[in-house]
């Protein structure tokens, strides 16, 4: 995994609560055996009509959304299934971070393992970000994981919390499998003691 570096980008505002994994990537697209290529079907049932044509009113189809890297979403984002295809699809589209007041547990874990940053903010900050994004769709934000800040166009930095272990892994670009493999002797000991 690539180390997670600071980035500056525009935001897409998706003001729905409880966005579930079936909306993020509908199950019929899970018949793939790859990770790549899912971005085209991100939010497929909201994004395209039955004939497959883009719905002009859906936010991802608006011109100002092109190239956005930050997703501003409602409470409890990513609830539902354990499909890691959800973060793969978000990353495939180009998102690098999602901001919400809360994330479903499995989604958050899956996102962190793939370098998609789930940023949790409090309700007041969330409201402020929503208002800003609605008023200034072209606004740019800066995300700095090392500093744990989300900076607004006016320079105000919003601090966010993140699990320190996950942060270290993301910043160094190391994956958890490597960490676990480093503990094989302890695993062997555990197995020996139990059998």
């Amino acid at each position: 995994m690539e180390p997670f570096t600071p980035f500056v980008g525009r935001a897409v505002l998706l003001p729905a609560e409880n966005v579930d994994t079936d909306q993020i990537i509908p199950a019929r697209f899970l018949k793939t055996t790859d990770k790549a290529g899912l971005g085209a079907n991100l939010f497929a049932d909201w994004r395209y009509d039955a004939a497959g044509a883009p719905r002009p009113d859906f936010v991802l189809n608006r011109p100002e959304s092109r190239g956005a890297t930050l997703l501003l979403a409602g409470d409890n984002f990513g609830c539902g299934s354990s499909r890691e295809h959800a973060p793969w699809a978000l990353l495939g589209y180009g998102f690098r971070a999602v901001v919400s007041t809360s994330f479903a547990d499995i989604f958050r874990n899956n996102a962190l393992k793939n370098g998609l940053l789930p940023i949790v903010v409090d309700a007041a900050t969330h409201e402020r970000l929503f208002a800003l994004a609605a008023a200034q769709p072209a606004a740019e934000y800066r995300v700095d994981l090392a500093a744990q800040t989300l900076a607004l166009p006016d320079g105000t930095a919003i601090a966010f919390q993140i699990d320190p272990f996950a942060r270290t892994c993301l910043l160094q670009g190391v994956d958890e499998l490597g960490y676990l493999l480093g503990h094989v002797p302890a695993i062997e000991q555990y197995e020996a003691a139990r059998s």
Binding site: P15, L30, S82, D163, D175, L180, L181
Partner: protein
């Protein structure tokens, strides 16, 4: 210090924990299916790794496999490839695969318990959120993503932070026509779909004790719909009776030793929970969902709620959006709402006892016999399909037409879950069968 069931299972499985890092948690049983595993096996291949414990791993095909005649080839090329890929991966990595040819194939959360692989005190994971089902046996069972599937395949371990304890106490006696599905829908309706985030539900109380293992699995299964990654029910004689004699259950002296250990698992007297909630089972009615998440549920005797009466603006918007998708009029009684399709199945309510209950309604008032339930369903005009996830997730060709209404015994009524544009009412097998008889949402008690 008194410990909960979760504390005891957790403590027994921590291999190591470094300061500031999550625990390395040992996994006793890893269930694998075709949809969430291919990329994990690929990681193993790329890094030259083996499956550490094939003996603690079990695979089956359920999500994308068709439920029509198994002697026919799989028509969908992508699904066929995914199913074949699992077979290749299992062969290459020595993982036992319960393919249709074995006669044991089925939804992964159905066959684990049926085979006796699911046992009390275990840690169980699968790349599937409804792994919560197995918690009915007093095992810590939860869904993981594909990266983690790779971690467990390679090391039999996961990096985990310990979740918090949440007691869900359900006392009292269920009334006729009301079952385990109604308990869990009522709970999610109460807590909301994010209510259990960061927690494990431990279901306690007399109503839970009196449930069968199938009923307990239904309740634990939908813990994830309440936001909890896992649900737990302390093992007792009901659990041991279910397991005794199953193909992978211990035998003889090993069985006695296992039962003795399992009896020490229940939460200690005086153990404390981080949160708790109480439900009165005797006050419950058959439940049905009206919206697009499982928390939007009401008693069948109720009405479609009116967004105008919801004060919180975000919740009002969500309800308006859900009712628009469902095309339901606020204030209308739920009963009498026309239904196009009834689906009885899934890892929530697709077990023998569920089919028996449904058959009882379909057959009129006669009690269902264990044998030839397929005949009962076919004679009532139903289709009887082969094992698989089917219309729960609409990956294998079994799906709703846009705009159709379904009563489904599955677990998710998300937009498009049962097919793009499809509209789902979640309910119990009894309520589903009642709708199948009348063609509209029906209080099953009026047929009893």
């Amino acid at each position: 210090m008194p410990r909960t069931l979760l504390d005891k299972i957790w403590d027994a499985h921590v291999v190591a924990q470094e300061p500031g890092s999550p625990a390395i948690l040992y996994i006793d049983l890893h269930l694998v299916h075709e949809v969430t595993s291919p990329q994990a096996f690929q990681t193993l291949r790329e890094r030259g790794l083996k499956v550490r414990r094939p003996d603690k791993t079990l695979a089956t095909v359920d999500h994308s496999i068709p439920t029509y005649d198994r002697s026919l080839p799989i028509r969908d090329a992508l699904a066929a490839k995914q199913v074949a890929q699992l077979a290749t991966n299992c062969q290459e990595f020595d993982v036992p695969l319960y393919s249709p040819e074995t006669g044991r194939q089925g939804i992964v959360h159905v066959i684990g318990p049926e085979l006796g692989r699911t046992q009390p005190g275990m840690t169980i994971v699968c790349g599937d959120s409804h792994t919560a089902t197995h918690g009915a046996f007093g095992s810590l069972a939860f869904g993981i993503g594909t990266s983690e599937v790779g971690h467990v395949l390679a090391t039999q371990c996961l990096l985990q932070h310990k979740p918090k304890n949440f007691e869900v106490r359900v006392d009292g006696q269920l009334r006729p026509g009301v079952g385990p599905k109604d308990i869990i829908l009522a709970l999610i309706g109460r807590l909301g779909i994010g209510g259990g985030t960061g927690h494990v539900f431990e279901y306690t109380g007399s109503a839970i004790r009196s449930l069968s293992m199938e009923g307990r699995m239904t309740v634990c299964n939908m813990s994830i719909e309440g936001g909890a990654r896992a649900g737990l029910i302390a093992p007792d004689d009901t659990t041991f009776d279910y397991l005794a004699g199953r193909p992978f259950a211990p035998e003889g002296a090993a069985w006695d030793a296992a039962v003795a250990a399992w009896r020490r698992l229940p939460s200690d007297e005086g153990a404390t929970f981080d949160r708790s909630v109480t439900l009165d089972a005797s006050a419950l009615e058959p439940m049905v969902t009206y919206g697009t998440n499982p928390g939007m549920a009401a008693p069948i005797t109720g009405r479609v709620p009116d967004p105008a009466e919801v004060r919180d603006p975000a919740q009002r918007r969500a309800l308006e959006k859900a009712l628009a998708y469902m095309d339901l009029q606020p204030g209308r009684p739920l009963q009498g709402q026309p239904v196009d399709v009834v689906f009885i199945g899934s890892c929530t309510n697709g077990r023998l006892s569920d089919l028996r209950q449904a058959a009882e309604v379909l057959r009129g008032r006669a009690a269902a016999e264990a044998e030839r339930l397929d005949v009962v369903f076919r004679e009532a005009g139903c289709e009887w399909r082969e094992p698989g996830c089917s219309m729960c997730i609409a990956m294998n060709g079994d799906q709703l037409e846009p705009g159709q209404y379904a009563v489904s015994t599955s677990n998710r009524n998300f937009e498009g879950r049962q097919g793009p544009g499809g509209r789902t009412f979640l309910a119990s097998p009894l309520t589903a069968a009642a709708a199948a008889v009348t063609g509209v949402l029906t209080d099953v008690r009026s047929l009893m």
